[in-house]
């Protein structure tokens, strides 16, 4: 089926070339990093994880969100999602691919990455994260590809995928839970040391992922003959509504616990993020922007007339994306490291090269997504429309 990705209009090829340019730039920046070490990043002794891990964390959420399509469709036989489940699964593949690339980009010694397998260490959450992410990638690849292949042949999918699909549902939850455990189990990092971190991650994931899917579905409808359908998009919108509300709600649970208890090692991080701490407040405007976007999105989404207006829905989806991306992509990691356990403040901002590497990884993800969507949509288009070229008139 991959050959479908090799046929396309100039617009399609142009987009691929653009992505390849981005990938090239990212690769170039990474070569510099490979030569110079992570010194080219904005990371430091005190903020030892930065943009790469932040984006990794965000994308794990996007990947996990595929379950929001898989679960209603396969567990509750919600037929409306039948047409777009594959879009969710393929988005997950692209997202996990980016996750893995971000981890590799973040390693000081990528050439030793085999060591994680050669010296398996069950007491390390990172070891489990490696396992859940790779298995999730394989699960989605196998399930998505097999079901699409069966659809293309108009045959029922083979029986063995059923158990894999059921497995993929808790597995999606597991990837984000285990990723939250990377942070939530560390002594001395008060910002992360909270049981609600995993639920928070999941809530923001179920807001961000479906929001991305809504935007992708709208884009696909615009660019191709494949229409996800109004109902499917509206159901996604409802999921986003609940997701973003829960995201904000969980955030306030955290705020209450920290602010009411007034324990400094927990409180100072929030202070730093939202008001600045010891004169450092680089993230303050972003964090308020995120909150503003979150509230605006909620407003747009809870009012049914507004939600049903696809223009406003699109805006709400974008706002949701911005809100959750700032939350995880900027606040979550830096917020945990600043201030450090010694209550010293070292601020973090990504460097240009770091952002270029990040761009490259996003371009790889977009390339994977484009190729997979191209395949899926070509198959769907044929299935629904017969695939004949349009009349020349």
């Amino acid at each position: 089926m991959l050959e479908k990705a090799l046929q396309g209009e100039p617009r399609y090829w142009g987009w691929l070339v653009l992505l390849l340019v981005g990938i090239g730039a990212g690769f170039g920046a990474y070569s510099v990093q490979y030569q110079q070490g992570l010194s080219i990043t904005g990371m430091s002794r005190d903020v030892s994880w930065g943009f790469y891990i932040a984006n990794f964390t965000f994308l794990v959420g996007v990947a996990a969100s595929a379950v929001m399509l898989v679960l209603p469709y396969y567990l509750h036989h919600y037929k409306t999602f039948g047409r777009i489940t594959i879009l969710g699964e393929f988005l997950a593949i692209a997202a996990v691919t980016m996750c893995i690339l971000f981890i590799i980009a973040d390693l000081g010694k990528p050439q030793r990455v085999n060591n994680v397998l050669l010296h398996p260490t069950p007491n390390s959450v990172l070891f489990w994260d490696m396992i859940v992410l790779n298995v999730y990638l394989i699960l989605n690849l196998v399930i998505g590809w097999t079901i699409l292949g069966a659809e293309r042949k108009e045959l029922p999918p083979p029986k063995w995928v059923k158990p894999l699909i059921y497995l993929s549902i808790p597995w999606a939850v597991s990837i984000h839970t285990v990723t939250a455990f990377l942070y939530a189990g560390l002594p001395g990092r008060g910002f992360w040391l909270t049981a609600i971190l995993a639920p928070r991650f999941l809530a923001s994931a179920f807001a961000a992922g479906p929001a991305v899917l809504i935007l992708l579905a709208m884009l696909v409808r615009k660019l191709t003959k494949f229409d996800a359908g109004k109902e499917a998009i509206q159901t996604l919108a409802k999921i986003v509504t609940y997701g973003i509300i829960l995201h904000i709600f969980f955030f306030f649970l955290e705020v209450f616990t920290v602010a009411y208890s007034q324990i400094p090692s927990h409180l100072t991080h929030l202070k730093y993020l939202y008001f600045g701490y010891h004169g450092h407040g680089g993230l303050v405007p972003f964090m308020w922007t995120a909150l503003f976007c979150g509230f605006t999105a909620i407003t747009l989404l809870v009012v049914p007339q507004w939600r049903k207006n696809e223009g406003l829905l699109g805006i709400a989806a974008v706002l949701t994306f911005i809100c959750t991306w700032i939350d995880k992509g900027m606040g979550m990691i830096s917020g945990g490291f600043v201030p450090n356990p010694l209550h010293e403040v070292t601020e973090y901002a990504p460097t240009g090269l770091e952002m270029l590497v990040t761009l490259g990884v996003y371009c790889v993800g977009a390339l994977v997504l484009t190729v997979l969507y191209k395949v899926a949509i070509t198959v769907k288009e044929y299935e629904e429309l017969g695939g004949a070229a349009p009349a020349p008139h």
Binding site: Q36, G37, L38, S39, T41, M43, S44, R45, D46, S48, W49, I103, D106, L107, G108, K109, P110, R112, V113, N115, V116, L118, H119, T121, N123, S124, V125, L126, F127, M130, L182, Y183, G185, L186, P187, G188, R189, P264, S265, G336, F337, N340, P341, L342, H343, E344, T346
Partner: protein
């Protein structure tokens, strides 16, 4: 001992006899089997059940502190990088930074003003070891939390886990910041991309010597087996009040500060 033993030799000898190989050929094949070698710790090495340290804070003068830091950096080829990407094995920290959980508005002036020498606490329950995905950092039988630089993949999970900021990452190639040749040619430098930290000078203990800093501290640092009630640190701790850094986290640090 995994590589060299006689049983393997015999197994291979039998195998090669079976395929009709003799003489020279068998010799070539079986060379590893002929290495009837053994590995062991040096007899002169210092041993303990759990190494630990007590710092008599008031004995430190600025010169002593600098001597301790200096000898450590020099002997371990720790490069001096003046940026937030620098490396620290042992360094000075103020009271509030060293003991943030013991925050008190009013404490003894001398304590409040004094810089403390801080380093890896060689915790009995080290979070850094718990999180390492490759066992590159591990706890030895004698309690020392050790780094295997050959195995570290540079994920920096340990840095996030350490509540003391004791770990440093080689953002740069350290040799760029060291004289050539390195100050101590008998001690390796590191490469860019691995994490490092204080090792309680395992290389010194192995040959019967105390850690460099202890030697340079002119008695201000007491080093010994914490499981031995007669050891120097234990004796001091019995008679003196001591504090530990962030002990509430349950890491059970093995570096005590005598107040």
């Amino acid at each position: 001992m995994m590589a060299f033993n006689r049983r393997d030799f015999l197994k291979i000898a039998g195998l090669s006899a079976a395929v009709g190989l003799g003489g020279q050929t068998a010799w070539e094949l079986l060379l590893p089997g002929h290495l009837d070698a053994a590995e062991m710790p040096a007899a002169s090495g210092l041993t303990a059940k759990r190494w630990g340290m007590a710092l008599d804070v008031k004995k430190f003068t600025p010169a002593v502190r600098q001597a301790c830091i200096g000898v450590c950096n020099q002997s371990h080829n720790v490069p001096k990088i003046d940026s937030k990407q620098g490396l620290k094995w042992i360094w000075e920290a103020g009271y509030e930074a060293a003991f943030p959980d013991l925050e008190a508005e009013y404490v003894e002036d001398e304590i409040k003003e004094m810089p403390f020498l801080v380093m890896c606490n060689h915790c009995d329950n080290p979070p850094c070891v718990r999180v390492c995905p490759t066992k590159a950092t591990f706890k030895r039988g004698d309690g020392i939390v050790m780094m295997d630089m050959h195995r570290c993949i540079g994920c920096r999970f340990c840095m996030a886990a350490c509540p003391y900021g004791s770990r440093s990452f080689n953002f740069h190639d350290p040799r760029k910041f060291l004289p050539d040749p390195a100050p101590n040619k008998d001690y390796p430098t590191r490469t860019k991309g691995v994490v490092e930290k204080c090792t309680f000078c395992t290389e010194r203990l192995a040959v019967g010597k105390l850690p460099y800093c202890v030697e340079a501290s002119q008695g201000a640092m007491l080093f010994g087996d914490m499981s031995d009630a007669g050891s120097a640190p234990r004796k001091a701790l019995r008679t003196r009040y001591s504090i530990r850094r962030n002990a509430a986290l349950g890491t059970n640090p093995q570096v005590y500060y005598l107040i």
